[in-house]
């Protein structure tokens, strides 16, 4: 829903795509997915990212608004994909949870949330009436202070420490990993396919690299394998290990 709203509000991302299932502008693809006219399983997000990186390199122009928009939309697509992936497990876990029950739970949450939203409205009224009132903010004159200010109770060094972070230049946001991610996703897919061919089955923990970003790339690669129908993913409990098993038979050995 949120992706839909921003697709309307923000500037279009001028990116022509040439994918297996779709040929045309990126925005149109997103719209079609949101309208359920294209199955998101059919769309390879890594391909879209790779194309965008190439597009940026080709045009030599970096439009911050359009790129932010692109990142938001790609994130929305990934979120939809990962939700769909989890749905299988959730259904297994709550087999009894029929649509009516799900709707009831959602209703409960909405009702609870709306109480707070309405309470915020009443707070606003109180704020408008009282917030501007003037109270005295003056120190007690020294002669009336029994608890005297202790000389040197605080070290002056804490002042320098407090100011230092503000004097440090804010870091320039590093976006280089965006391009790296697209490249390493392709590499990671290749690596996982090789393991899958050899072993037939493996676990996420066994193959995932150490770094956080690297693990994320491995995870996205798993999603790709799943969406392309090459592998089946199983996770028996939340945050448990993921078992990946091959679906398609290995190519027949000829001769």
């Amino acid at each position: 829903m949120r992706a839909e709203a921003s697709a309307v509000a923000a500037p279009p991302v001028m990116l022509e795509l040439d994918l297996d299932v779709f040929d045309g502008p990126f925005d149109l693809l997103v719209t079609l997915i949101l309208r359920d006219e294209i199955d998101i399983w059919e769309v390879r997000v890594s391909r879209i990212i790779a194309e965008y990186v190439v597009h940026l390199a080709d045009t030599g122009e970096f439009d911050l608004d359009a790129t932010s928009q692109f990142v938001v939309l790609v994130a929305a697509l990934l979120e939809m994909k990962s939700r769909l992936l989890l749905e299988e497990d959730v259904e297994e876990e709550f087999e009894d949870l029929d649509p009516d029950e799900a709707a009831r739970q959602l209703l409960e949450r909405l009702v609870r949330y709306s109480q707070f939203r309405n309470a915020a409205g009443s707070l606003r009224t109180a704020w408008e009436e009282h917030s501007a009132r003037l109270y005295r903010h003056a120190p007690v004159p020294a002669g009336l202070l029994r608890r005297r200010v202790v000389d040197g109770a605080l070290s002056a060094g804490v002042l320098a420490d407090a100011l230092t972070p503000l004097l440090r230049e804010p870091p320039v946001p590093d976006t280089s990993h965006l391009a790296d991610l697209a490249v390493s996703l392709v590499k990671e897919l290749r690596r996982l396919r090789l393991i899958l061919d050899d072993e037939g089955e493996f676990t996420f923990a066994a193959v995932a690299p150490r770094g956080r970003l690297e693990r994320a790339v491995t995870f996205f690669a798993l999603l790709e394998l799943h969406s392309s129908g090459e592998a089946r993913l199983r996770q028996t409990r939340h945050f448990g290990d993921i078992v990946v098993s091959r679906i398609t038979a290995p190519a027949p050995v000829i001769g």
């Binding site: 009702v111 707070f116 704020w127 501007a132 009132r133 109270y135 005295r136």
Partner: protein
């Protein structure tokens, strides 16, 4: 003026924070009853419209504040600005904290359905929300609550004065409408 009332007046003048009635009596070394009588005399003296300052009951105590009809002059003279407006997101987060405190960041996010990190930071910076220790649960998350400044800026004596949350429940019609919309969605998905 009542001699004890004069002493209370001096205390209220000097303190930047509202003073609870029992602390007033303690500071004047008098009984609670004597203190209550003196406070009543002071309230009569500072009844609305008599002086340029008034007695206010806020944040669990009594304090002096500038009379509303004199506030504009004072503001012009001191250059004091009105506190910055609170956006709907800040007010909503503040409502969750005020009604559920002590409350963790995760609990706030669950009620609101969105991460409330920025809103909490902004409320802390404005002194409306403060960290009040850590929960006894795994990860020991920080607990947030409101403080004296919250009560003062919203004109409350205590959090008990907040209207009960049930008052803000949706009407039966609205609940029915949401319910039927959710059911329609669920059916469509089940097909």
């Amino acid at each position: 003026m009542h001699p004890l009332a004069r002493r209370l007046e001096a205390l209220l003048f000097i303190s930047s924070r509202p003073i609870a009635a029992d602390r007033l009596a303690e500071a004047c070394a008098c009984t609670d009853e004597e203190g209550a009588d003196a406070l009543q005399a002071l309230r009569t003296e500072y009844a609305t419209g008599v002086h340029g300052i008034e007695i206010r009951d806020v944040a669990g105590g009594v304090t002096f504040a500038v009379a509303d009809d004199c506030a504009e002059d004072v503001r012009r003279f001191t250059g004091a600005e009105k506190p910055d407006e609170l956006t709907p997101a800040l007010l909503e987060t503040l409502a969750v904290v005020a009604y559920l405190e002590p409350v963790t960041r995760a609990e706030i996010a669950e009620v609101r359905g969105v991460s409330s990190e920025y809103a909490l930071g902004a409320l802390e910076e404005r002194g409306l929300v403060e960290q009040q220790g850590r929960a006894d649960t795994p990860g020991a998350p920080v607990l947030y609550g409101t403080g004296e400044r919250f009560l003062r800026l919203f004109g409350l004596t205590s959090r008990n004065e907040l209207p009960p949350l049930e008052e803000f429940s949706l009407g039966a019609d609205e609940v029915d409408e949401i319910r039927s919309r959710l059911h329609a969605n669920a059916e469509r998905r089940a097909q």
